[in-house]
Subunit: 596 residues, 2 copies
């Protein structure tokens, strides 16, 4: 397979290796070697005692990056952010007990947004379970239906036969393949280890580590998955649908396929003469392909509670998850196209309006490429009108933008100052909605990420750090609200590992999203119970983690802070806003826009 092609490894056979070793470490070494052979690059370890065999196996492997994070909740989200960018599984390793329970939020998000994770939980042996033994909980299938699979291995033993070691090897390969399969997500492998946990002989272990010994695996199992290629009938049906319908739109939601999809779907849309409504985290709204793609990105303003001034489409073709924009979703539910086709390779339903007429689990890229070549129709006037509408939207929005400093122009300033190539993580609640509404499509190579599987405000700092460290040479930006930032300050323990990261912290002292909710009219109890005022001065957080810190209250200060930021070390740029004012101005903005 060539995975070890460029490293200097010594392979040992099962029996030869086992005779001198602690069976726990032997099993862990086989397991880790097979994960790396399958493609694993990174293990995020939260230190502990019971996980000693896995920790040592990871540390000794020459081709594995080891990241340490004390807080398992943050570790989980760090791995998630890394896997979001690299699109390959990241391993998590922890000790026994509640340590593993702290992974749960990240595992749920991984399940919902199809991010591959390998959750390697260390456990006590079976004789200590259900017995009141220290730090021993029921870890078997502890994440329920939120993982794609859950294994509980046997306790490694010096009398285990080669069948057991082969099972350890194939479990690693299969767990990796499942996490990274047609539908991606987390897989738990639970490792009961009986003491002793440390190497039988220190000098021998250190020599092994020095010599980069990796146990030989016989057979060197691999798992391969084919492509869900569309059949001829599907291709012909879709071609005819497009040929016969001038008014159609393509909706690219969050988590569209990675790789070439943005370019492929852009060419497909151009051939169809259908505009693409591109979610900010679809990876279709921003990027070099956008130069010539028919992308609509202003719909969050345009559709805001009012009928657009155009004829509604007869065909809606969807890719990815349910879009972030409430207004887009409401609009899609309100119109009456005769065909609503959702194409999703993962096979996971994503339509909470329950209006989809056809759901196809086929490879999105293959379908687009196949049909594009068969389409025989020129784009209609409707298509040009729609694209003109998009341009007009942005012109109007700029024209009516108030002079006052509030969070929307600040977000626009941030977007205007992003580097041409950036990894951009956007927090949930208000930031993602602002970027959705005010992030105009452009050809800059922006990769925008968010945790929109479960849309939690937890774990965002760590996810952004996972993203930032994935490509250390690319500037990385996190835009996050103050409550979400609070939730995962522990993630900052790894901030020094990501000197390319700038954290733009929008501080309105507590969950301004609630100003958008109907409950906002109820006065005092609302104030106390729904806005989440904390009164924290985050300068102290920057000091705690040794990060540069700049407080910003005006647009000019923001511009200055951002121009200082790139490539100059991890930093926090805190932007103070008043959400009560902001929400009023946002509404006025939309109202003014309508009157232009």
């Amino acid at each position: 397979m060539g995975w070890f092609g460029d490293t200097n490894l010594i392979f040992i056979d099962y029996n030869g290796g086992m005779s001198e070793q602690n069976p726990n470490i032997y099993a862990a070494t086989i397991f880790v070697a097979n994960l790396v052979r399958s493609g694993l690059k990174t293990a995020v370890i939260s230190p502990g005692s019971r996980s000693t065999p896995l920790t040592l196996a990871c540390e000794a492997h020459p081709d594995l990056e080891v990241v340490l994070q004390l807080d398992e909740r943050s570790a989980g989200f760090f791995a998630l952010g890394r896997a979001l960018v690299t699109d390959r599984p990241v391993a998590l390793i922890c000790t026994s007990g509640t340590a593993a329970a702290n992974y749960f939020p990240a595992i749920v998000e991984a399940y919902m947004s199809h991010v591959p994770l390998l959750v390697l939980t260390s456990d006590r042996p079976h004789e200590l379970r259900h017995s009141g033994a220290n730090q021993t909980i029921d870890q078997v299938k502890m994440f329920g239906g939120h993982v794609l699979d859950a294994y509980d291995l046997s306790v490694p033993s010096a009398v285990d036969t080669e069948l057991v070691w082969r099972n350890v090897a194939t479990t690693a390969v299969r767990a990796y393949a499942t996490a990274n399969g047609v539908r991606k997500g987390a897989v738990q492998v639970n490792f009961p280890f009986r003491k002793p946990l440390q190497p039988a002989e220190a000098a021998e272990w250190l020599r092994t580590r020095q010599d980069r010994v990796v146990p030989e695996i016989r057979p060197q199992t691999t798992v391969a998955v084919g492509s869900l290629f569309p059949n001829r009938e599907q291709a012909e049906y879709l071609t005819q649908l497009i040929n016969r319908n001038e008014r159609g739109i393509i909706v690219c939601g969050p988590r569209c396929p990675s790789g070439d999809f943005p370019a492929v779907v852009s060419r497909f849309a151009q051939a169809c003469g259908y505009p693409i409504f591109a979610d900010p985290i679809s990876h279709v709204r921003f990027g070099p392909h956008a130069l010539s793609a028919p992308i609509i990105s202003g719909y969050e303003t345009w559709l805001n509670g009012q009928e657009p001034d155009w004829e509604s489409p007869d065909v809606v073709i969807r890719f990815g998850a349910v879009p972030t924009s409430k207004w887009l979703n409401d609009y899609l539910a309100k119109i009456e196209p005769h065909t609503r086709l959702h194409v999703r390779g993962s096979g996971v339903w994503a339509d909470d309006s329950h209006l989809t007429s056809q759901f196809w689990q086929v490879d999105e890229l293959a379908l687009c490429r196949l049909v594009q070549s068969m389409i025989a129709r020129q784009p209609a006037a409707w298509f040009q009108q729609t694209l003109a509408w998009e341009d007009r939207n942005w012109e109007r929005l700029t024209a009516v933008m108030p002079e006052q400093t509030f969070d929307i122009p600040l977000v626009q300033t941030i977007l205007d100052h992003l580097p041409e190539r950036v990894n951009f993580f956007v927090g949930n609640s208000l930031p993602i909605r602002h970027v959705d509404q005010f992030g105009r499509s452009r050809a800059d190579d922006w990769r925008v990420y968010a945790n929109r599987g479960a849309s939690g405000i937890d774990g965002v700092v760590s996810s952004a750090l996972g993203m930032g460290t994935a490509e250390p040479d690319v500037p990385a930006v996190l835009l996050i609200g103050d409550v979400s930032f609070f939730h995962d300050m522990n993630g900052l323990l790894l901030a020094k590992e990501s000197p390319n990261l700038t954290i733009v912290l929008l501080n309105n002292d507590g969950g301004g999203i609630f100003n958008r909710l109907p409950i906002a009219q109820f006065g005092e109890p609302f104030e106390r119970l729904f806005t989440t005022q904390h009164g924290l001065d985050y300068r102290h957080v920057a000091a705690l983690y040794g990060l540069r810190y700049t407080a910003v209250r005006t647009e000019d200060e923001l511009k200055q802070a951002l121009s200082d930021a790139w490539g100059a070390g991890a930093r926090i740029v805190e932007v103070f806003t008043d959400n009560g004012v902001d929400e009023g101005l946002r509404r006025a903005l939309i109202g003014n826009w309508r009157q232009v």
Copy 2:
């Protein structure tokens, strides 16, 4: 029932109340009213939108304390700490999505240490589940086997019949009773709410709130559980066992029954002529009853890897969970008494040596009281010798205590300076082991708590705050290590609610517990992978949360800091130690002690 006896409530009937109300709020109000009628005093709410009906119902109830904590993980542990002290359920309320997943660590601890919690998770209605809808995950039974029960209610509706409202009422009563039952733990109730979530009419809701309207519940269901009273055969068997055996010991592990148990078991032990090996969190080691009780508290030193100089017991009677002390457990597993009786009202097995000969699920207090009156034997010489051994242990330990400042004398200093009445929370890893080894039994009314169900280092700060706020007039102390402190710094958001709390932070820069592990011999990789150095300066954390802060490096400084502490506002006293030195001195101390 008289629960509302001293408040001015207006009861309304089901139909009259419903006709004007949002059915979600109506259901939530019935549910909360029935929880309060069952005994609920406190709800810990993490703000969100979907939970609006539950939040409003809690806020409007005149007899319910509402605590707000933004981070659900910390909220879970705060509720756990409160319930540990009050021995009654505390409710947790959160919005939909990963919010609930953050409760998982506290729920696991609650399950393992039998702490009653009511986990009220808000959810989207069924038509939005499994559909890709925003912030919607599978919350049904999401905590698996780590809760005692899990309900998923129907979506409240304006056309619901009285049967549905009665079910809401009885579910509340039953969930409370289950959480607070023979075996305590967490119960999840999942509430799907369909929009709108706010009151139908603002003025009407505010009037209702003003007037303290609580819906009438018909019938006003109550659930009562009897006592697991021992039968005559059991009482006679145990009496004869004691009469016939002079050499017996009683082991009181963590989480012995609350209430009068310490006094009752002390009198029982005195009657038996059996010494009590009392765990630091048994509530038996410390307290006024200890004045005349035959308590052994020095065993962690005394039994440290060596045979004690006495005849081993023929009878071991155990109460509570598996003791904290590894040396005590090892000793108990090594000796060969002919009878090992474990008495545990909860019925939960707690013996990882699997040597118990009789396990009785009977009420511990009832059994002790019954048998005590039937015993007819004078304490033997062996009993007096054992107690003399305990005294000699402490004299020797004091004699050989090194002059050098290291963590053990510092822990002794802390113990010597605790107020006569204190709630004392002890962190896991090293602090609980130090208190176990060096906390000599005394008659001061110390209530000592720790999260020893799963022994996690997570959530300890919040648990201590839940403890501290439970009895605001009693001085509260948390002794915690620096890694555990890091894990739950977010808990400090509630520190201002507990001005009685002093946090004594033992900082050895990262998990010195690993110096006790065999892996410590392996040099550099050990240093990096197993000690958990973070390099954080916690003064910034004190500044962030507005807490007083004192750094301490000598015993005199510590004494001064502690004498300033009590009742003067929440504060952090950080004690700097060097764990490499400490562990060496601890070993020397035990060695020297043997030579005296």
